[in-house]
Every structure is written in C-alpha cells, then in structure tokens.
C-alpha cells in the first residue's frame, strides 16, 4: 500500500477514536501517577463528540476532514488535550488541504505539520516529557520510511515502535511541561501519559491500514 485516500484517512481516524474511547480509563490511570488523572477522560470526550458528529463531517478531502475534526477536538477535549490535539489535527489539515490522497512522503509532511502545530501552541521540545517524545520519533521514522521507499504498512509498524520506544524513554525524564512538572523529581521513573497513549494508539492503527 503506497497511498492513503480520504476514505483510508477517515477510517484511520475512526479507528483512532475507537481506541481512545476504549482506553479512557487506562489513559486516566497513566495520568494518575504524576499527573491529575484526567487525561483519558479529556481526550476521550473530544473523540466521543467526533463520533456523534461523524455523519455530518465533511469527507470531501483529507484537509477539510481533518480541519473539522480539529475544531471539534479543540472545543470538546478538556484540559491541555484540547489545544494540543486540536492544533495537531489543524496542523495536519493545513498540510493536506484539498488533497484526496497522500503518499507516504506527503503523509510525513502532514505529521510534521501536526508536530509543528503542537509546538506552536504548547511550546514544548523533545525531552520535555510530553507526547512529543512519542510523536516526534514516529514522525522521523515515517519520514525515513518514505525516503527509503517503504510502504505504509511497514512504515506504520516502524512508526508505532518508535512511539512505544519514545514513550518508554520518558520514564527517565523529569517533566518540564505539563502537570508532571509540578511534582519535580517525583515524575522520574514514570512514563508520560500522553506519550504512552500514542504508543498504544499507533500500535492499534497498524491494523487499520
């Protein structure tokens, strides 16, 4: 598989929503160790709303679909997750404006644009113990796969592994961004909830393409 169509992307997001909703409590638990325990709820809330409004979402092209997703997520995801996930989707939308299919290289553009959106809003860097520590490695891995001419399935498999490894590494970091930073050294040894969640999500998404 060398191309994702609008339908494929819609499918992927549909699956992503299912995974997030199914893991609501688990994601809350991840956020309980050094955070405030609401991450699963906050992010699931936006994706539940997405599902509710699913039929009326524009599915004309990838960009407009992701843009509408981003608006709903911004409005309905609580806490930090609203702006972060919202700007990720809106960033991705910007990079896929008007497109009805994307190559792996274009998909990498889209992911990089999502990362950029998150960083513009949240101001965090690699190593700050946020979901970026899973998302950036995934994005880099996808770009490498594209450069090597790999197909989506292999690329997604590698990308998911990069996310899991990145999430694992957050254990050794003391948080600088987000709520974990308020507990100082106490956040050591515990992974970041957002990064772990991305590891889970990307792993499940492999089956969706």
């Amino acid at each position: 598989m060398n191309i994702l169509t609008t339908d494929n992307i819609v499918n992927v997001i549909d699956k992503m929503a299912d995974v997030i909703i199914a893991n609501e409590v688990y994601f809350c638990e991840l956020d309980s160790v050094a955070g405030d325990g609401d991450f699963g709820m906050s992010v699931a809330k936006g994706f539940k709303q997405l599902k509710l409004e699913w039929d009326s979402l524009s599915k004309d092209d990838i960009g407009s679909f992701l843009k509408e997703c981003g608006m709903i997520i911004t409005e309905y995801c609580g806490g930090a997750s609203g702006p972060i996930w919202g700007s990720a989707f809106r960033g991705a939308a910007k990079a896929s404006k008007g497109k009805v299919e994307v190559s792996l290289s274009e998909f990498s553009d889209l992911m990089e644009s999502a990362v950029e959106g998150i960083q513009k809003r949240g101001n965090a860097q690699l190593g700050d113990k946020t979901l970026l520590d899973a998302l950036i490695p995934t994005t880099v891995s996808l770009r490498n796969s594209a450069d090597n001419g790999e197909d989506f399935v292999l690329a997604f498999n590698k990308g998911a592994k990069a996310a899991r490894d990145g999430a694992e590494k957050t254990k050794t970091m003391t948080a600088n961004k987000g709520r974990a930073s308020y507990v100082g050294e106490r956040s050591l040894d515990h992974p970041d909830a957002g990064a772990m969640a991305l590891g889970v999500i990307f792993t499940e998404l492999v089956d969706a393409i």
């Binding site: 609203g82 972060i84 987000g178 507990v183």
Partner: protein, 329 residues
C-alpha cells in the same frame, strides 16, 4: 467511589445548575459554555474572568460578584475549559475597559486562555490582558520548568484585583495590582487522602494509615514527598516555614487556612491555632484570617496554608466591599 452525583458526565453541568438554583440573585448561567456570570455586568469597569477545571468549589464561581470576578468559566473536573468556552466568556462580558484573565499556571489553562485571548483580540478587537497565578511553593521554581502551580492564592487575586477594577482602574493598572498580589502570595498544601476523580472512579493515589503527601496541588497530583503523619502543630510549623522562606521581611499578612474538601472545619481551626501562634512568635502581625474550604480538590482530606504579604495598597483593596457566594467583606 461513593459520591452524591448522578452520572459523572453530567456532574459539572448539574453542579452549575444547582449553584444557580441556590443563588439566582447572584449568578446567571450560560449552559453551552458553562459560564457563571454576575447578574449585572458593569461595562465601565475592567472585566475579570477566571476559571479552570471543576472540582475546586467554591472556586471559581463562588467568587463571582460585587468586588470580585465577573465570569467563571467551568471546565470538566480538573480539566481546563476549552478555548471556545473561554473565548465565549470574553466576548459575552466585554466592557469598555478591556478584560483581565486570571489564569492558574497550568499548561492546559494557559494554552486555552491564551488561544481564546488571541481570538478575542484578533476577531473582536477586545483588549485582553493575562496574569498567571503561581503561588504554590512546593516545587522549586527554575528556568527549566513551567513554573509553579496556581492554588488557593488565586482567591486573593480575585479579591484584590476585583477591588481595583471596581475602583475604576484601567486594564494595565488592574493587571499591575494583580501581579503585585501574585508576587506576594504563597501557598503550600498537604494531603491526608487522595481525591477520586469521578470519571476514573478510584483514588488517584494511595496513602497508608500513617502517611501524608506533603506539597500537593489541587488536582490529586502527588506531592513532592511522602511523609509520616505529624501533629497539627508540626504540620503548621513545616508549612509556615516553607511559605515564609518565599516571603522575606513579612510584617503584616493575611492568612488563609484552606480545606481541600473532606477536612472538617474543626481540624482547620486546630491547624490555625498553631499557625497563628507560630506567626506571633516570629513577630508577624496577622491582619485577617480565613479558615474554610476556599479552593478544594474534590473529596481530598488535607489542607493548605496561604499567606499574603500586605502593603497599604493591598490592604486597602483587601478591605473593599465584596459580595460573592463564598467571600463577603
């Protein structure tokens, strides 16, 4: 989890409605955006907006009213309200003098309040200023972190900036006053039990029978250290010590002994008994004392100490009239 609620999803909405039902002369409710607003807005004063996640009741809607806030924006439990909610708070309470957002220093709140401020500025040409409350001294502040949490000290910002706005100061001036309060207010808290976030249904952390978390925030985050349970007097000694370190040369102060939700007033008064003695021994004059549940963390047992260092300006604004549900002066 045993709580007097219906479904966790409906909790915040029903709480807001129950609040308006109890205080129909004080508040109006914008249901779509979960805004609790003053009954009568005064378009000739700076508008003050605060808010954040729910679970801290009476904060923040309890401080909406004469001499304090104009709007409280209610997020879900412990989750910042969305950008859209805050944006709607700003545009629905526009005054001729602009709007000050009082933000507790958490990345979620910051992102949402800032994005909303940008929207209101760009799309609607509303002057919006922001202050960031960061009174919690539990964790060391440094260049490399996102700074300290905003906790119970927020209430003094609402009170004093509220009085400044009511006195007719302009936006920049009210902001300067608010920042002066922020510079002079420090807090530290400790938990005897965890709270239980309704959507999760189980306690965020577990404490042994003889353990406390020292240096906790107001979201069930663990503190900076797990310690052995101590007497009220030892706890007060630790707290006063920690807070005064950050408020050198304090001569006259306001004290707030704040309960986290499940600690009875009886214990808060015992704690205050020690606090007041320790401050006296240190030669510090207590100008006023607040004891009660002002900024809670759901059903957490525990308390925090907040000290506000006064000067004449702060004292005058502190003394101004205020008439809200949870704070009257």
């Amino acid at each position: 989890m045993k709580k007097i609620i219906n479904k966790p999803e409906d909790l915040v909405l029903e709480m807001c409605e129950g609040m308006v039902a109890a205080h129909p002369n004080m508040l109006t409710f914008n249901k779509r955006n979960k805004l609790l607003c003053r009954k009568e807005l005064n378009e000739n004063k700076v508008t003050l907006i605060s808010g954040g996640g729910s679970g801290h009741e009476p904060a923040h809607a309890g401080y909406v009213g004469d001499g304090m806030l104009d709007v409280a924006v209610c997020g879900d439990v412990f989750a910042s309200p969305s950008t859209i909610q805050v944006y709607n708070a700003i545009i629905s309470s526009e005054s001729k003098k602009g709007t000050l957002l009082i933000i507790k220093n958490y990345s979620g709140d910051i992102m949402n309040f800032e994005a909303a401020a940008e929207m209101a500025d760009e799309d609607d040409n509303i002057k919006v200023e922001k202050v960031y409350v960061n009174d919690d001294v539990a964790v060391k502040d440094s260049l490399y972190t996102v700074g300290r949490r905003g906790v119970a000290g927020s209430i003094f910002v609402h009170k004093i900036a509220g009085a400044a706005a009511e006195a007719g100061l302009d936006l920049k001036e009210v902001k300067v006053v608010a920042e002066k309060v922020i510079k002079n207010v420090k807090s530290i808290g400790f938990a005897l039990t965890s709270c239980t976030v309704p959507a999760k249904g189980t306690p965020t952390f577990q404490l042994g029978d003889n353990e406390i978390e020292f240096g906790v925030g107001i979201h069930g985050e663990p503190g900076v250290a797990r310690e052995k349970m101590k007497t009220a007097h030892e706890l007060a000694t630790d707290c006063v010590e920690k807070v005064l370190l950050e408020l050198p040369n304090s001569q006259e102060v306001v004290v707030m002994v704040n309960g986290f939700g499940a600690t009875p007033l009886q214990e808060l008064y015992v704690f205050n008994n020690s606090v007041s003695k320790i401050l006296k021994d240190r030669g510090i004059t207590v100008y006023d004392t607040l004891v009660g549940n002002y900024m809670t963390a759901l059903d957490m047992a525990g308390a925090s100490l907040t000290i506000l260092k006064l000067d004449q300006e702060l004292k005058d604004f502190y003394n101004a009239r205020a008439n809200t549900i949870a704070f009257k002066k």
